[in-house]
């Protein structure tokens, strides 16, 4: 029984699936590794568009990751320098999270502006509805209502 268990365990642990898709990169310091991981989360794969570099295995994403790796380890560039390098070449689109600036104002604040507009429209509608005078029923209508109610009861 024990033997079988060990066999199963070793088969699972040595399975090649475990090693598939794992990037092998070595870093001199943990800070470099953290920076590399952070940047590959933040930068967009331009051909897959809705994936960041970390999630993508497209050819271009691999090249860009390699480039980031090189800049982090060999050239010792800072986070800002690497981001500037990428934005200079690929534009703001390369950033997964767009920067807040004039041209992205609507993107960032548009939804809140719409929400405010909706809120004001709602307020006005509710107010307007309240101010409508309630019309009293005249005798004829009152009679008709009474008749209706009575007919339901029977």
């Amino acid at each position: 029984m024990m033997y079988r268990f060990l066999l199963l365990l070793s088969t699972l642990l040595l399975s090649s699936v475990l090693f598939a898709g794992v990037e092998v990169r070595s870093f001199e310091t943990p800070e470099q590794e953290a920076l590399y991981n952070e940047l590959s989360e933040e930068l967009r794969c331009l051909v897959c568009q809705n994936q960041n570099l970390a999630a993508s295995s497209a050819e271009l994403a691999l090249d860009l990751k390699e480039q980031v790796y090189r800049m982090v380890t060999k050239e010792g560039m800072s986070r800002e320098q690497i981001i500037t390098y990428m934005v200079d070449r690929y534009g703001d689109f390369v950033l997964y999270k767009p920067p807040v600036k004039k041209s992205t104002f609507l993107l960032w604040f548009g939804p809140f502006i719409l929400l405010l507009i909706g809120f004001f429209v709602l307020m006005r509608t509710v107010k307007g509805a309240k101010q409508q005078p309630e019309k009293a029923l005249d005798d004829k209508q009152r009679q008709a209502m009474q008749d209706l109610l009575n007919s339901k009861e029977n």
Binding site: L46, V47, Q49, E59, L60, D63, L64, Q67, V87, D88, R89, Y90, G91, F93
Partner: protein, 182 residues
């Protein structure tokens, strides 16, 4: 309540439809190049199967194009005929950037075979085996065509295969305009 207020939601809705319709016509794959209006990035690369190097300094004072291509790229094949005709008829200086292909002896001869089969419209071919120059130029999909003026400034970037329409409406007028500039 005045009657025009009833139409406000309709106007709003039509506006939204218009916005979405306009969005439909936009190609999300085309990312505008931040290089337009800026100095083209420098490069110095080996020429295809030659010892010599080619750099953008060689093109100084000329209106030229940089066409990024590869033998594995199907769209490059698609644009090749149109592009070659345009280059020949308008007598344009073009550097071919052979992007991540097999341009050096130790790889293969794919690119030579490709050029023999389809023709070589380039004045010179720069070999970017590892794709570093491509990244430096912000290349994200081949083919891409950059138009560079006499002062070495990138004036336009055409992403994707060059078509007869884009030659007629965009590239040819631009090249003619740039040739008049000093």
């Amino acid at each position: 309540m005045s009657s025009y207020k009833h139409f406000l939601p309709l106007v709003f809705f039509l506006g939204l439809v218009g916005l979405l319709y306009w969005g439909l016509g936009n190609d999300p794959k085309v990312v505008p190049s931040p290089f337009i209006g800026k100095q083209a990035p420098a490069f110095e690369l080996p020429k295809l199967y030659k010892e010599e190097k080619v750099s953008n300094e060689d093109m100084k004072g000329k209106v030229w194009m940089l066409n990024v291509f590869a033998s594995w790229c199907v769209s490059c094949r698609a644009e090749h005929e149109v592009l070659s005709k345009f280059i020949a008829s308008d007598n344009i200086e073009v550097v071919g950037l052979n992007y991540k292909d097999y341009g050096t002896e130790e790889y293969g001869k794919e690119v030579l075979g490709w050029l023999q089969q389809f023709g070589n419209p380039y004045n010179v071919i720069a070999v970017d085996t590892d794709g570093y120059t491509g990244i430096n130029w912000g290349v994200y999909g081949v083919p891409e065509t950059f138009v560079i003026d006499k002062n070495g400034v990138v004036r336009d970037k055409h992403t994707g295969p060059v078509t007869e329409e884009s030659v007629r409406d965009r590239l040819r007028p631009l090249i003619q305009q740039l040739r008049k500039e000093s």
